[in-house]
Structures are given as structure tokens and as C-alpha cells.
Symmetry: C2
Subunit: 559 residues, 2 copies
């Protein structure tokens, strides 16, 4: 079936649920009125539906290949990437001084959702570049900015993140890639990086690698890591791609999905790079990029949920099988259990979208108004957006397979591809377990201020009435769990992090869905289903969150 | 890593949790003492670990192929199948009169678990044959039994089930394959069947298809379906494979997983077959085969959970990453969230195994003693075993991927293969939604007797004390939900079927794990984790189960 970009759903959310009008009221985003937003989303929708979506299946079947040391991408990817770049979508939130549109993150993630639903493998490429643009904008010298930013914003060049090494995954501080000073402002980078998305390709003329490496004598761990921009082709005096740098894609990973996205093992063999940010300050610069990417990956999860839901819904409306026990139905959409699956998919998908967009709006307001409370709000929502967006992506894709029955297991149907493709989103950019630890560790260091401010927002929604007292009850569960977390030792928090995050996300979902229903009564049944049935888990999740670490260590888990 | 068959875990369960000694006390299974069982399981374990398991990955990479109208299987599958057959494992519970070992189903499913953990694609083949043996034993004429049973029991020939047609999947009654009387005791079968596991292959000399078809003038729906045995090669007077029948594999499906198992589209073009059971009585015969297969598929799910758990556990013990916050640990097994994942995997896997084995023991006792209460108990447990076993398979495989981090998404690791392979088990042999409908529909037609008898067993376990009052509370939740189901209209039951089944299964799991812990105190932490944390969902699930159908139809689910 054909993907249809959910433009009206997004504009409804922005207008009626998330207070998106606040963006156009800032001077930074004065152009981003709701009308302009709708026009931009319509334009992006055309590209996503018409040019990107038709490539999704071929990307899966004819994935990227490494031939004679060069990565060749799926047929059609180059042209589609060109359309993305020339449409201005890579740099839509990039700095205007370098040719970007300076649009809010809220619109950027909405566009990214559509492009990712259309073809996740391809859309991962500009996502990497967008993160790199933000990192360079905040941390690079003006000289570096002048060389790289315009090319990245225009999409002529693409960006990558090079963190992971075989022994250094979640524990970035264990990396050993070396950087040595050339004495001329440049550095020699030597080491091997793995899992580098779009580490090499043939869809654009140059690739800028942001590489974490260690200077001689640097402190151990994350405090001794510096960040370097290492281009595939070293820019010449005119700023065009010049001499080939000493780096290459050694191999491509054989992944369960995302075949269209070349995941490279990269070898840097004395490659020339330039430092971004301060010496030994690489993690700060990387965090800028990672925070952006974490929200972006949450959107990726959401994007596959949306696509899987659309496909399953259409199939359920068409597939005749058995006689539904309710009059007026002739296809499996009339079966109660199929409807339970589809309602679950719909409620989770809408919840995840609202969380991600709300996070983006807070980022925008923080930036536009220098509002620290909004910045803290965004920081608190980021791990929720990443984890819940990607968990929902996995769960909804699994339900999508199930709605299709036996056809769901056949690759031609496409449901299985969503299931395979989305799985990595719960892992990369920090596994969902790491995200939850970030939430109960770093993000509660404010003494719970950001958490409680969000709970107050939900409480206010619950107080306006609704289908069930469960929303208010959930807020109280979360208040207690938050208080417990603030009192608990770090490993006790970590032990309950995943259930705590899940409980928070489900409750936020109920809050957004109820607000949507208050603006449009036709949405009340979905809000009621979410709050009465899906949110029933909130209490038990909060209980599990507060059990502490001891029960997890009582069984030896011997091999 | 190498698969290790969990022989001691199974014998512990049989001896201390499931009352497996009752089998040896019957005259039918007098040989099946616990000592004999252990010896048999040890023998099977050697084959599974040594000869079958090494084929799992090659089966995924070099799946079955259709070449010149013939299916060629993965290199090594023929030899491994031969070892399975000559070891007597195909016919281990087959009738002794036809060369079978007449072993209890409890041991058969235990062996099937090991073979399936070792290589699910290959082990699916004898599972199909075992179901066919049972169907022929109960429904075929003596003449047919004499021709087919010995060959099937010995594994010289293999069996298939041919139910599904493009328009007739869950709704078997919609099938249109034709059967016409040849007037000589045989029939001409014409039609196309899809999703036929091991429909053609080169690992054995003949294949017997059990085909559902419709005689001219037969009543519509399931009441007009007859069952036919349709061999690939028609047996000659000496009982050896003779003339080729008019049937063929038209194509193989491209599946997300189980690549080693050839899933065929079968064309019957006036093929010669012989009726099994009564005219228009095909569904009764098919149900014999399907009930067997449903428990068998539950075991398949369990088998992948076990294999995924073993692999993830070993990885967690080896992988160094970050500094675990608890002394004495140097690998990721020391991280609380990794332990939560592994404990969840372990508790769910053990729960699923106990449910499946308990179901098998009841089948055995019903058969040995003509005990109708045990038969009803087995019938009630069958959809639970199928659904929970396969859901757990999917969930545990997903957690297994997560424990591996980025490596989990790389095919070489093997975690992704479990995730892909197991997914179909929640779909075939009746989707898990259909199973749950069977449970709250057909299996509650006894007025709740079987359900309540099981709840009484759990109540008795809970009364012996335990880590948490939650087990008793869960029984009361389930009592209320069962009472609600018995009063509710059919579609209201169907609407709550999936959460009701899940709640029942989780509670059964708590009951078994607590019994295990009472026999071996070292198991108490796992039981406590399951009961306190995983079973926290039981209350909310029961609540959702009793919401009725109306909330599922209130949202139009418009495209």
C-alpha cells in the first residue's frame, strides 16, 4: 500500500494539543506560523509519498554494497537524496547564515517522521547530517564553520558520527582511537570505528566524519576525549573536495534490517582531521549531537509505527476472513481482537508522536526565549521520546505483522520489513536501557523539578475531566515513584529505570490523547481506550520501578 | 555460542513441580519412569547439541530452494534428518504396533523443545509428521494405517498439513479445494494450498499430504470438509514409493525467517488421495492434528526463548562495558537493567516450559487413564501453551537482541535469527488471537469447570506461603474475570480474550515457579521476581479483559 503522510494529524497536534502557536510568537521563529507549517508539511509530504516511499522495498532487497573499496547504494537512492537536499530538507533547521531555513525543530522532526516512514534507510542519512550541523554550529571554530557548514546545510556533503569501537559501545570512555598533533592546526587520526551509519556512500560528493579520539597523555575515560572533523576528501582552497584522506570503509555489517543504509567499519589510518571544541572536551560537543540524534531516533521509531499502522489498518479493511460477529462489517476489521490490536497501535503511535513533538517544541522555546525551564523540560523528555518512540515502533510493527496473519511473515507484504528495520532504533544512540538510566540519573539531578512540572501539566489535564479517574491516579503513582527515585541510591534507581520511564510515557500519552479529545470529541474513544486499558499498567510499572536493585541480584543468573 | 540442552531443568520440573511420576504409575506409560526419562533426554540432548545445532545458521543463510520443480534443502539437513529418524525421535510417541516407542507426550515435547532450540527449521518437519501420525491413528481406516503409519513413524516418509488457501486462512471453512470420487475408493483432489510447511523437500523418500477438500454438494463451511491422504509418490503393492502423484510445489514463500524450512504453495491437479475419517468429517480429524500441533508450536516458541536466553546470558557474562556499580562484577551481567532483562527472560521461559509440559502430562494422563478431567485440563491448557509459549518466544528473543546491544542487530551474532525465526510461531496453527478466542469460547463451554479446577490448584500453591500475596490476589482476579466471561456475550468475551489468556498464563507461571522454589530454595528469588514484578500485570489485564467489546468499536478506525 501507499504511504500517506499524516499532515493533518500533525497540524492538529501542533494547534490543539501542544500549543504550537507559541513558536510563531517568538522572534526567532516568527515565520513558523501554523499556516506556514502546514504548507511546509504539505510540500514534504509530496516528496515523501511520491519519491521516497517507492524506494523502501528496493532498499531492503538491494542494500548497500562494498565493491572495490567503495560503497554503492541502492539504485534510486542517489536521486532521492538529491531531491531531499535540493528541497532544503537536510538543512531546514540549519543556520540561515549558512543557507539553512532556520526552521524550528518541531517542524524538522515532523518532516523527518515523514521521510523516515517513507524510507528509514535513506532518511537516516540527513538525520546524521543535521546532528553534525548542530554540533559544528555550537562547538566548531569559525574557520571550520566556514568550510563545512554551507556544504552540510545544502546537503552537498553529508555527516557521520564516529563514536563506537569494538570495546567501546555504551561505554564511550573506553575508546582508544588516537589523535596526534600535526603542528599545523590539524591532527592525525588513527583507529577503527564500528557501526558507522552512512560511513561511506555514493549519494553525495563528500562525507564529514566527526570522530572521537584521544590525544597523547589525555586523561582516562570520557574526560580525555576530543572531537575531530575528518573529511573523506580534504577541502581544497576553494572549499571543494580535494585530496582523498587516509580513511576507508573496511567492511559493511550484515544487519537484520535497514539494508539500504550502509553501516560501515571505518579505518582511520593517520587521517587528517581538525579539532572541534576544546581539547579533551569532545564529549560536550558529542552530547549536542547525541541529544539531537536521540530525539531523531525516537522519531524514527515513531515513523515505523505510523507506517506499520497504516498498512495494517488498510489490510484489515480489505481482508475478508470469517464472519465478523458485529453487523456492518465484512472484513477482519470487524473482529474484536483485530480492533484491539489496531487501537493499541493507534494509541501508542499518537502518544509517541505527541511526546516527540512536545520535546521538540520545548527545545525550540528554550532556544528562542533562552527559557531554562523549557530546556530542562526538553532534556527530561528526550530519553522518554527516544525510548518510548522506539519501543512503540517495535511493538506496533510486531502488531502489524500479527494483523496480517500468515501474510505478515512473507517479505513481499512489507510488514516484516518494518519489524526488522525498526528493531535497531531501540539499540543505537544509546540503548533504551541507557536512556532510562539517563532519565533517573542525570535528569533527576534537578531534585525532580522537571519531572514534577510535567506531572503538574498532566494533573491539570486530568482535572478538566475525562473518561476515567486513572489519569489522576497515574500522576499520583508517578509522584510517589519520583519521590522514591530521588531518595534511592543510584543502582536502585537504575534497577527501576525502565519501568519508570514506561509508566511516565504511557501517562504522558493519556494526557495528550485526552487533550486531543477535548478539542475534538471524535477522539474521545481512543483516549478512553488508552487511559482505561493501556494505562492500567502504570500502577504496576511504578511498583516494579520502586523495588530496588536487590531483587535483581538475588538470583545468581549463573550460566 | 553452543546450545546446551536443559535436561536437568526438564527433569527437575517433571519430578518436583509437575508430578511427572504419575506417568510411570500408569500401565500405558509404565516404562516412563523418571530415570528412563532422564536417559532418553540425555540421548536426545547429544543429538540436538552435536548434530542439529550446528545447522541452524547455515539453514538461515542457505535456505531451501526450488530448482526445476524440486525443493533442495540446506546442505546437511538430509543427514541430520536421517539421524533424527533413525534415532527413533520422529516416532517416539507413535504407536508401538507400527514401530513407535509409545512414549508419553511429555517426553516427546521435551525432546521436541531441544531439537527446535537446536534448529527450528529442521525440527518443524518431524513435528508435522507427529501430528499426522496421531490423526491417522485416530481417524484412518486400518488399510490406510497399514500403508502409511510404519513409514511415518520410522521417519522414512514425512507428513504435512494442507489447510490454508489464499481466501481461507483462519476461516478454514472458506476453502474450495475439490475432491471427486474415483469410484475405486480413491478421490481426485484439485486445488491450491498455501503456507505448506515442508510441502516438498529432498530429505526423505516420500511425503504424505493431509489435505482438506470439499466433495461435490457438500454443505457450506466447516461441515462440508473432508480429509484426504495424498502421497507425493503413490505407494506400490509392496508399500514402496511408486508413481508420482499429480501434485507439485509451485513456489516457495520468501519468509522473514525459518529459511531452512521450505514453505510451499502446493498445486493438486487431480491428485489421487484416500479419505481419512468420515465424509464431511474432515474437521474432526484435522482437530486431532491441530491440537497436537498447537502444543507443538507452543514448544517451538519456548525453544527459541530458551536458546535466546542461553545466548544472551553467556554474552552478558563475557561482555565488558562500563563499570558495573556492584562489586564482584566486571561484565555487563553486573548492570541492574541487564539483569532485569535476563531475569524476565528466565522467568518467562521457565513459566512457558512448565505450562507446555503440564499440558502434555494431562494429555498423557487422559489417554492412559481415560480421565476426562485431565482431558479437559489439557484442552484448556492447549491455547495457553500455544499463545504464551510463542509470545514468550517473541518477547525473550527481542530481549536477547537488546542484551547484545548493537551486536544483536548483526546477523552473525545469531540473536537476530531467533527473533526472525520465532515470529511466525505466534501466527501459524491459529494466530494467538484465535487461540485466545478458543479459550474463552469453546474452552469455557464447560461452565468454567476446567478453568476453576486450575485456579484451585494455584490457590493451593499460594496457600502454602510465598514471597508475596500477589499469587492469591491473582487467583481472585482470574476468578472474577472467569465469572464475567461466563456471563458475557460471545463478542464481549472475544474482546477480552487476549488479556485474559495472558493473565492466566502469568499466574500459572507464578504457581509453577513457586512450587519449584519450594522444592529448591535457590529458586526462590526467581519466583519472587516473577510474582512481584511480572505478575503485577495480572490485575490490569483482568480489568482490560472485562471491558467488553463496546470500547473496541467506539473509535471508527477509519482509513
Amino acid at each position: 500500500m501507499a504511504y500517506r503522510a499524516p499532515v493533518s494529524e500533525i497540524t492538529f497536534l501542533l494547534e490543539h494539543v501542544l500549543g504550537g502557536t507559541r513558536l510563531g510568537e517568538t522572534s526567532l521563529f516568527a515565520d513558523a506560523t501554523l499556516d506556514t507549517a502546514a504548507a511546509i508539511l504539505d510540500e514534504a509530504a509530496k516528496l515523501a509519498e511520491g519519491e521516497i516511499a517507492p524506494l523502501n522495498r528496493i532498499g531492503d532487497q538491494q542494500g548497500a554494497k562494498l565493491e572495490n573499496g567503495m560503497v554503492r547504494c541502492t539504485p534510486g537512492f542517489r536521486e532521492a537524496y538529491h531531491a531531499l537536499a535540493t528541497g532544503g530538507w537536510v538543512g531546514m533547521n540549519g543556520p540561515e547564515a549558512y543557507g539553512g531555513m532556520g526552521m524550528p525543530m518541531a517542524l524538522t522532526v515532523a518532516v523527518n517522521e515523514m521521510m523516515s516512514s517513507a524510507c528509514l534507510s535513506l532518511a537516516l542519512n540527513p538525520l546524521m547530517t543535521q546532528g553534525q550541523i548542530e554540533a559544528l554550529e555550537h562547538h566548531a571554530s569559525d574557520a571550520l564553520k566556514d568550510i563545512y557548514l554551507e556544504k552540510l546545510v545544502s546537503g552537498q556533503w553529508t555527516g557521520t558520527m564516529n563514536l563506537t569501537e569494538p570495546q567501546a559501545g555504551s561505554d564511550v570512555g573506553a575508546l582508544t582511537t588516537k589523535a596526534e598533533d600535526n603542528g599545523d592546526g590539524s591532527y592525525r587520526i588513527t583507529g577503527q570505528k564500528i557501526f558507522i551509519s552512512w560511513g561511506d556512500h555514493d549519494v553525495a560528493e563528500n562525507i564529514v566524519h566527526l570522530v572521537l579520539a584521544r590525544l597523547p597523555g589525555a586523561p582516562a575515560g570520557t574526560k580525555g576525549i576530543s572531537l575531530f572533523a575528518v573529511p573523506k576528501f580534504i577541502p581544497d582552497a576553494a572549499g571543494n573536495p580535494g585530496a582523498a584522506n587516509s580513511l576507508r570503509a573496511v567492511s559493511l555489517e550484515h544487519k537484520m534490517g535497514l539494508h539500504g543504509s550502509p553501516t560501515c567499519v571505518m579505518a582511520f589510518e593517520g587521517a587528517t582531521g581538525w579539532m572541534v571544541g576544546a581539547e579533551n572536551g569532545g564529549m560536550a560537543a558529542m552530547f549536542t549531537m547525541m541529544n539531537n540524534a536521540r530525539l531523531g531516533v525516537g522519531i524514527q521509531g515513531l515513523s515505523q509505527a505510523e507506517a506499520a499502522y497504516q498498512q495494517a489498518l488498510e489490510y484489515a479493511h480489505e481482508r475478508r476472513q470469517g464472519r465478523p460477529p458485529v453487523e456492518g462489517f465484512s472484513t477482519i476489521i470487524g473482529h474484536a481482537d483485530v480492533r484491539r490490536n489496531l487501537l493499541t497501535m493507534k494509541a501508542l503511535t499518537q502518544s509517541a508522536r505527541a511526546i516527540c513533538l512536545d520535546c521538540a517544541i520545548s527545545l525550540d522555546l528554550a532556544r528562542a526565549n533562552g527559557d531554562e525551564a523549557q530546556a530542562a523540560r526538553a532534556a527530561f523528555l528526550t530519553p522518554i521520546a527516544k525510548t518510548f518512540g522506539t519501543d512503540v515502533g517495535c511493538e506496533v510493527a510486531a502488531l502489524g505483522v500479527q494483523v496480517h496473519g500468515g501474510m505478515g511473515y512473507i517479505e513481499e507484504t512489507g510488514a516484516a520489513q518494518f519489524y526488522r528495520d525498526v528493531r535497531v532504533t531501540a539499540i543505537y544512540e544509546g540503548t533504551n536501557g541507557i536512556q532510562a538510566m539517563d532519565m533517573v540519573g542525570r535528569k533527576l539531578k534537578d531534585g525532580g523539578t522537571a519531572a514534577r512540572a510535567l506531572l503538574d501539566e498532566i494533573r491539570a489535564t486530568a482535572a478538566t475531566g475525562g473518561p476515567h479517574p486513572r489519569l489522576s491516579a497515574a500522576v499520583e503513582h508517578l509522584e510517589r515513584a519520583t519521590a522514591w527515585m530521588l531518595d534511592a541510591g543510584l543502582n536502585d534507581r537504575f534497577a527501576g529505570a525502565v519501568p519508570y520511564l514506561r509508566a511516565f510515557a504511557l501517562t504522558l500519552g493519556g494526557h495528550y490523547l485526552l487533550r486531543a479529545a477535548q478539542a475534538d470529541g471524535a477522539r474521545m474513544p481512543l483516549a478512553a481506550f488508552h487511559i482505561r486499558q493501556l494505562m492500567a499498567q502504570v500502577g504496576p510499572l511504578c511498583e516494579a520501578a520502586c523495588e530496588g536493585a536487590a531483587p535483581l541480584y538475588a538470583d545468581p543468573l549463573a550460566v
